[in-house]
Amino acid sequence: MKPIIQAQELSCFYGIVLGLNNVSFEVPAGITGLVGPNGAGKSTLIKLITGQLAPSSGTLRVFGESPRNNPKLLGHLGYCPEREQLPKDLRPVDWLRALASVSGTPWGETKVLATKALDRARLGQEHWKKRIGTYSKGMKQRVKLAQAIMHDPKLVVLDEPMNGLDPMGRSEFGEILKELHQGGTSVLVSSHILHELEFLCSGFVMLNWGRVLASGSQIDIRKTVVEWSDEISIRCSQPSELAAHLQAQGLLRGFLADGQDLTIWVNEPENFLAQWPTLFAGCDCQIFEVRNKNQALSSIFERMTR
């Protein structure tokens, strides 16, 4: 499949300050995570993709076109900036109508677009009459998302959209992004909190100090850089019973059960993870989650930056 974003030896400097340094990568359609610590270059890359900055050198193509000074392409992008500031005296529908008008939507059509977008971002109608300045952080994030998806873009770029959201809010936000993807919109979402994106994204671009450490699917990245850990965490309904079941098969070197969490140490972790549904069969226990310690995105990132 043709990538939606292609960067070739892309660099961006702010005077003598490094933003991005000679990075090359491709982003396919789908939900892609842009991960890295603060100052890694995520926002710089996002500004390049949305045409706000020009590359210092190299090339960047979004849907095969350069995004800088390209209004036609910008019409297919939605962008949600990291900063929280929103026009506090405006009501969300009015703000979205104005932005739709700026995008060139005929005025008569703006209200329908605005209300539809707020619905899709799951901002309750009871809040629409209030001014944005009175909103909570979670509500503001929904308004920000609504303005980004209002015009049915082909790609939505979200810069740290889950900052400050509680776990419930993050989960709901993830659901919205999945819905967008199912509707045919690609999503590029940045975060410095890696586990936020782990279960959401099909691919990743990992950045640190202005360089791309790795890009591709989590499995691809893991294959190239990470050794398997023998420590596996399982969340299930009956940890003790499951541990006994696995031990009876001679698979364990040790285990630790705590509430619904079971940590096991296995002899052959790669085989175990490949076959775990079969190995668990016969135990009357509900499995919620199985994780290898080194599978975690944060663990991969930690190893890569070591």
């Binding site: 019409g75 900063r83 008008s101 700026v102 060139g104």
Partner: protein
Amino acid sequence: MSHLTSNKARLGAIKGVLFMRIQELTTPAALSRNAIVAVASFLLLMLLRLDVDNAASRYQGLVAGLFVLKFLPIFCLTKGGETLRSELKEGTIEYLWVRPASKVELYLGFMLSGFLGTFSIVGSALVGISLAGLALGALGGGAFLSLWLTVVVVVASFTAISGAISSFSSKFVVLGIFYYSFVELGLGAIPNGVQRLAVSFHAKTLLNGLTSGDGNLELNSFAWILATGLIGIVLGAAIFSQSRYVVGSEKEA
């Protein structure tokens, strides 16, 4: 399919930015502030009734000399560029310039909304001033028209100049005061044609109608004032469309 690929509305960016400004200017707080300005202006000028014999001449002197020629230039030169600069400082401009709109159109939107913002206060004051003038018998029909037209073009022109300054510097307030000191007070005091570069010089000419009571709609003066504003708009739009700004800070382009 994106909604933006067909039937792109003309001047949508200007409409959008103006709509936002109108919403901000019609909040209960903003309307109350304007009402207070109007009432305060009216009551202050009504104090002139304490000296009934000289009320009309004092009124004309205050309105022309103080309000139009001193207050308006300073107020507009320090407030006109506020819309653009606050968008840049707060970062809300990011929502605008990632959209398929030309930067020139966005700039014109900022300028018009800057004019609206400035005129919402100046206009409120002018309502109070005009009512006081009518009550004091110091403002006839011709003078009334002359005053309003002069104020509108002066505000438009100074707002455009302030906008041009704000397009290249976040210190537009300080530079606006410099502009007032050097161009309006400095050049405006030099005879033999140089004073024509100052908006205040032409405003003064137009306000002669205030004292004569029959208005003085001198087209030449209007043209000079509007041309100055137009130069400000063209200059500002050119700078804005070619500059790279640091959003969310006081840093310069």
